[in-house]
Symmetry: C2
Subunit: 200 residues, 2 copies
């Protein structure tokens, strides 16, 4: 809600602003209430618009979830560029992209919202499976042709665990560590999962 309001300030009212305000409201609700309890009516109320406008912009609830909970373009871009650099630093660059993204409020809400919804609703779970398999699978396959699917899910699992521990359950000292400290400690694990033999 607060981010929707902040965005409204200094922006001319119009379709783009309204659409983005609805998206912000939907993300916050998916993250706080889960998939099932987030309704078009609640989203419309939070965004201060008519429920029909939410339907007009986003169609079904599944379509809405897919669109507003998609990985933000900057993360998708960073993942796409991962294979361009040296393999020796792939784990660190992946950690910078992923942990850096979680410091952004919108990306963090999307990540935690996806986890929360996936744990509690099959439709949301299917969408999250797609992402892990497709987006992280492409990253893993781009740097290593040995079992990229296993590598992708292990990396995804670690990202999910770190995101929950740091931002949702607030487990110390992880919750208070700086972004660069977190990147430092997870980078070797990402490097291992991307490039080392998977078992001893």
């Amino acid at each position: 809600m607060s981010s929707a309001k902040a965005k409204r300030t200094g922006r001319r009212p119009g379709t783009t602003a309204t659409r983005e305000e609805i998206a912000d409201a939907a993300r916050a609700l998916f993250a706080e209430e889960g998939y099932e309890r987030t309704s078009f009516r609640k989203i419309a109320a939070a965004a201060g618009v008519d429920p029909a406008l939410v339907v007009h912009f986003y169609g079904s609830k599944e379509d809405l979830f897919r669109q507003v909970m998609a990985l933000p373009p900057e993360i998708a871009d960073a993942l796409g560029r991962l294979a361009d650099g040296p393999r020796e630093t792939a784990g660190r660059r992946l950690a910078e992209a992923v942990i850096g993204a979680l410091e952004n409020p919108t990306s963090r809400t999307i990540t935690l919202g996806r986890i929360r919804c996936a744990v509690t609703h099959p439709d949301a779970a299917a969408l999250v499976r797609e992402t892990v398999t497709r987006d992280l699978g492409q990253v893993a396959a781009a740097v290593n042709d040995d079992q990229p699917d296993v590598r992708a899910v292990l990396i995804g699992a670690h990202v999910v665990g770190v995101a929950l521990a740091r931002y949702a359950v607030l487990v110390e000292p992880l919750a208070s560590m700086s972004t660069s400290e977190v990147i430092d400690v997870v980078a070797p694990t990402f490097q291992h999962y991307l490039l080392d033999p998977l078992s001893e």
Copy 2:
């Protein structure tokens, strides 16, 4: 519910059986419905007893959660024994204890239920933080005096992510891998987090 029924078979009815049936019903509800939506009334209905009996056995909801969602003794014992063996195999033995435990239906329900409740309710989050800090913190401190608190939360985060991906969101190929395959792929990461320098 089904496990409560299975337990009832072949066991003489009595206080111990009833108490354990209530615990089974409560675990299933915490895992499926979350902390907030799990009430004494629902637990009693699922266990086929009077709500007053649930209160009699377990007191407050927080006390009930603490007791029925405690780590099963066999996992607590395995964690406690970890420091006794050679350091070179500590990661593998931790993986065997943790991943092995997740194959047990009760331990799995407890683990997934704790995660689900911690993500959605502050009281449950506080209880989960306690466990990670205390139980995994003791394991980490027993094998390494360098930053055991950071090591404990990174291991906990990875366990949580793997448990969610494998058993809740059912991400392939992790969901279909055998227990020993999963142990093989996570053991090196646990070994790294227990004993290697934390940053490069």
